[in-house]
Subunit: 682 residues, 2 copies
């Protein structure tokens, strides 16, 4: 301890990285030498304070070390000034100022880590690594010299090379127009926001400020759906979501579903351009709203990542989607697209902001499915996972770390409450949960906006404002499944007569019967029934979803899957038991059926926060094998065979552990028994 | 000859490249194998006819060969179809169809050479190598396959790799929007125009056409001067100038010279933006006019190369030029700038056209000087060459292949006829050549628009329409020099009295004398005189030019130069003898004083036609040593010392071989003799 030494041992926590460094080395330099993730924007000039560390003193028996107070240099004037001006937490030091004078243990607090892990707020506890494409760099630029007349940009470049090892940058005329003022106003120091091309091109200057810019940079993760456009505004420093919002996709007035929009483009000259324009306007307005909500300047939004299905993808880029409406469903481009955000219609954010659109998997399987893959990582799964992103179209991924398959299946909008007699979107007043007592055949339900069941005290008061207005997607699925569990509906989907079922809630409805879930007519409210037509719509939708999954299972040569992940905002609300009673998904232990929430949106956030995720998903997408349902004869076969509830072709041993389905038949001809297997040709 | 052989000798002319190739090899393939420059747009499919060759038959004693008609395969159906449809010149074959069957000599005609040399039309007989950045590529793209759903862009990329070894392309959303239609309309064959980044980035798709596009691509070479904007519209296939035009720079209304425009920007908020806008509008209008004149579609203009001085450079890019108006004259950027042409305000040409702005040398020595260097190549010169680009500012280059120096000198507008009592721009009616008989002291002159001297028969008739309206830049230079040669003016620039000179053409003008060159007052025309003020203006201008050159000579430690090149539109009209009498340029053998015409414009054309020239001048500019005249005390010394005609400080032995200058003095005090050397402090 008294002997003069040349080097000292430094141990960084939490990384555990350690090594000998020369006595007198600043902590920041030592961190860099040892590959420790310690942030710095000012490049070690003691002004940004991003490199704060917490040295540990005392005994560290685990490391066999006793650290004395003299292991670091004394608090210096730069640190004192910073502490006086801004305040340093007790025990904190500036890593660029404190030098190593003896063996020491140094903790890097989370906010000083560049690539910190941020725990996702959503249900799935996966982490997002922070490594955004756009970051701030502070540097001091040499003043101009008449005798060596290089441009200001060239001297900025030189400074970035010196301080940050950035060898080449691109600066558009827009940046050049502001460069000279920024340099002089900042007394030859500036902060630049550089966007890094993950394909290796030179970084692009997105913005520039005089001196040290102390503001934050933000990015948008946008899930551009056919029906709604949802976006998260994320802090690019820590991934935090500062504001979230959604608007209806204004293209709806040109067609409710994708194919009607493709038709609109085919039938109306300039129709595609019109649809492009309205979606650009909506994105621009949404970005402005989110910036307002987060109380930031729109110019602080320097990046956007967008996920969407192929038709939205083409319309966003101004490409006529007509080829996607007919075989062979050729995409204009399947690779990821990056361009200046204003080329994607985002004109209200930083004028030089960059936008990134994830790659498409196939003509029917878009960047949204790629984002689901990025979020759920089937290509890393040890067990066989089936991922269904349920919406108007279902995108389905099946596989393990060895092989992943993907397809799309046209489920139609029934799962979203559309094309259902009492259907409505998920909103207060909508029935979202249903139970039918198998003995009394009496239903009870819950509506969005209240946690009470309809037979519980206080339900009427709790729903007085919203009323009971209809039934949403998860509600209709539960209602149909409960009808089956309660023996009110047979496997073919027929509702029994009042006589056959023994309940007056079965009421004639044309030549078939409907089940009265709620009769509000006495109070001037609606009569909410499940009609035979509703059941047919759900049967079509669930058959399509199952047939797609089954097609991928055929391709892999398997009859079972280990796990099922339901993705999509709607997927979050589906009850696994009811999904399995319906036969929406293959048989699987119910505990292995989970919801990933809006996995596409999560994938967009991951690609926004972590540049390495972009290269990763681009590579993974190339390995995903696409199966085209539209031309596959077996898809039709599976579709028809999956019509029964649950379908006739697949065994459901796991389901029988949860619920016993009564063997009833309400077909006037007596056909269509519970366990009967239909024979198909081929 | 009868023995079966595996290979044959092929000799290509004019390159002389030769080698053995396998029997049956198509001529185009053989050319590529042997590195012979043989064009092809369709990649060897027999449809573009760009690979036409002329095989030679008979004896070739030089090569020791006798070539028989069977050395090439017989005229085939593809060639016959092409000949029927379009016509092939006699003896021509399509290189992609004719195969090599025996030893053969094959001539590649100029129009089939990609990198053909084009002789410049201007005086200097330098060649321009044709290797434009933007070229056409025809290819056939694999049809989409549902089972392997790659995008159309990815299959186009694959075809370009296969046919043209182009591994990566960038396609903007604009191109993606047209890609699918082009591919289907062209039955899966397309032609793309690709712009090659000379810094090695991936080529950018500029345009796309279904099938084989048989149109041409054009580029603009623009010389953006403070006073006039001149542009050539060039065919990018052969460099031919299809249309040329010029317009006044509309910024003139914000200030006649550069510094008044910088002042305007400083004094008026938004003044720089206004000047940027008007020059963008002017460029756009000029481009449209040239396309009209050449009868081409503006979208066929896919590239622009722009040269200009630093103030114009900044205003073009939308950068406030204020820093260029004060020491240290810092440029926002000194490197070459390339961006989409619409960022340079060129909005009337192809929307994806690229523009390239040559690098600047220093804050006062711009891209126009770099273009002069590219045209005149001082960095390749064996002897010491002085290049003066004479305009409102003079840009001066001095050097050899070992070292090149550059500076700018503020000559002012006198050399262009401005600030001269009877001065005018070079236009019909302007006196452009002057002679004064040393015996009779009588002048004669020529005016623009006529080849006759004023004392020749028919002169009056020839100038009846234009009249004799004033004196232009070259006219005033000759007039002042002739006054000196005729003994009417002394070395200090004083005009003698009628008594001292013995001619009534010397007339009192205030306290000094003026010389009457032409008295048109009898016919209602002007009285054209050379006043003492005119001579002072020319003295200031020529002193500035000489002082700049002299400063560079000091830097190189030389008192003489081997060659002088006068560049600039005006430089083309200066008589070397008179320039030397004035002392505009250092002493030099008159036969070694040449004019390069508009060398800046030529440099722009070279950079437009030959992509390799861009990298070359960017590298050369970095090696050019800049000398800043504004802060160099010796510049002031040289400037003052160069005031006499010719100046007092330099010996003119070469000049004395051409003309004897009378030793006169008209100073009332008797000072200012011919050979007297002024002493200066320092």
């Amino acid at each position: 301890m008294t002997q003069a030494r040349d080097t000292a041992l430094v141990i960084f926590t939490p990384s555990g990285k350690r090594g000998q460094v020369a006595i007198g080395t600043p902590v920041l330099t030592a961190a860099r030498q040892l590959g420790v993730d310690l942030d710095s924007v000012c490049g070690g000039r003691g002004i940004c304070s991003k490199c704060q560390v917490s040295p540990g003193f005392g005994d560290f028996p685990k490391h066999g070390l006793t650290v004395t107070e003299t292991a670091l240099s004394a608090f210096n004037a730069v640190e004192q000034r910073y502490d006086d001006k801004r305040g340093l937490k007790p025990g904190r030091r500036l890593g660029c100022q404190a030098t190593i004078e003896g063996d020491v243990v140094i903790d890097v607090p989370p906010e000083s880590q560049v690539h910190k892990q941020v725990v996702r707020k959503a249900a799935a506890l996966r982490d997002i690594r922070m490594d955004p494409a756009t970051r701030l760099y502070y540097t001091q630029v040499r003043e101009p010299d008449m005798h060596e007349p290089t441009g200001d940009l060239q001297r900025l470049q030189e400074a970035l090379t010196r301080d940050w090892q950035i060898d080449a940058i691109n600066a558009s005329p827009r940046i050049l127009a502001r460069l000279q003022t920024a340099l002089r106003k900042g007394d030859w120091s500036v902060t630049v926001a550089l966007w890094q091309d993950h394909n290796g091109g030179p970084p692009e200057v997105i913005d520039i400020w005089p001196g040290l810019y102390e503001g934050r940079l933000y990015g948008l993760a946008i899930d551009l759906g056919s029906t709604t456009i949802a976006a998260h505004l994320c802090d690019l420093r820590n991934g935090e979501v500062k504001a979230s919002g959604g608007v209806m996709n204004p293209q709806i007035r040109f067609g409710e579903d994708l194919m009607s929009r493709v038709s609109y483009a085919m039938m109306n000259r300039g129709g595609d351009a019109k649809m492009t324009e309205v979606v650009h306007d909506a994105l621009t307005a949404l970005a402005t709203d989110l910036a307002d909500e987060a109380q930031i300047a729109p110019a602080q939004i320097v990046e956007a990542v967008i996920v969407c299905n192929p038709v939205m993808h083409h319309l966003l880029l101004g490409i006529d989607p007509v080829e996607l409406g007919q075989a062979p469903f050729a995409l204009a481009t399947s690779d990821a697209v990056h361009a200046r955000a204003d080329e994607f219609g985002l004109t209200s954010i930083n004028p030089l902001a960059q936008a990134y659109l994830l790659p498409c998997i196939a003509g029917h399987v878009g960047a949204d499915c790629a984002a689901v893959a990025l979020s759920e990582e089937p290509y890393k799964s040890d067990d066989l996972v089936l991922i269904c992103d349920v919406g108007t179209n279902a995108e389905i991924l099946l596989g393990t770390k060895d092989r992943v398959l993907a397809c799309s299946s046209p489920t139609g909008p029934a799962f979203e409450g559309a094309q259902i007699s009492s259907g409505q979107r998920a909103a207060p007043g909508a029935i979202e949960r249903v139970e039918i007592n198998p003995e009394t055949k009496e239903p009870r339900f819950r509506v969005i906006g209240s946690d009470l069941w309809s037979d519980e005290d206080g339900f009427d008061a709790a729903t007085a404002v919203s009323g009971i207005t209809g039934i949403c997607g998860s509600g209709i699925i539960e209602a149909v499944a409960e009808l089956r569990i309660a023996g009110l509906m047979d496997p073919s989907g027929l509702i029994g007569s009042p006589e056959a079922t023994g309940t007056a809630r079965s009421v004639p409805d044309g030549r078939t019967y409907a089940f009265v879930l709620h009769d509000g007519t006495g109070d001037g409210g609606p009569l909410i029934t499940v009609t035979q037509g509703d059941i047919r719509a759900i049967q079509l939708a669930k058959s399509a979803l199952f047939a797609g999954a089954r097609l991928l299972m055929d391709e892999l040569g398997t009859d079972t899957v280990d796990r099922v992940v339901l993705a999509g905002a709607f997927g979050a609300h589906i009850s696994p038991k009811h999904a399995m009673v319906l036969g929406m998904i293959p048989d699987c232990a119910l505990s292995n059926v989970t919801s990933a929430g809006n996995a596409a949106g999560t994938g967009a956030r991951i690609a926004l926060c972590d540049i390495s995720a972009r290269a990763r998903i681009e590579a993974e997408v190339r390995n995903i094998q696409k199966v085209e349902t539209a031309i596959e004869p077996r898809f039709q076969e599976h579709f028809i065979a999956a019509n029964a509830i649950p379908h006739a072709t697949a065994p459901f041993p796991e389901l029988s552990k949860v619920v016993t389905l009564p063997d009833v038949s309400f077909n006037p001809g007596g056909a269509g028994g519970g366990g009967r297997r239909r024979r198909r040709r081929g």
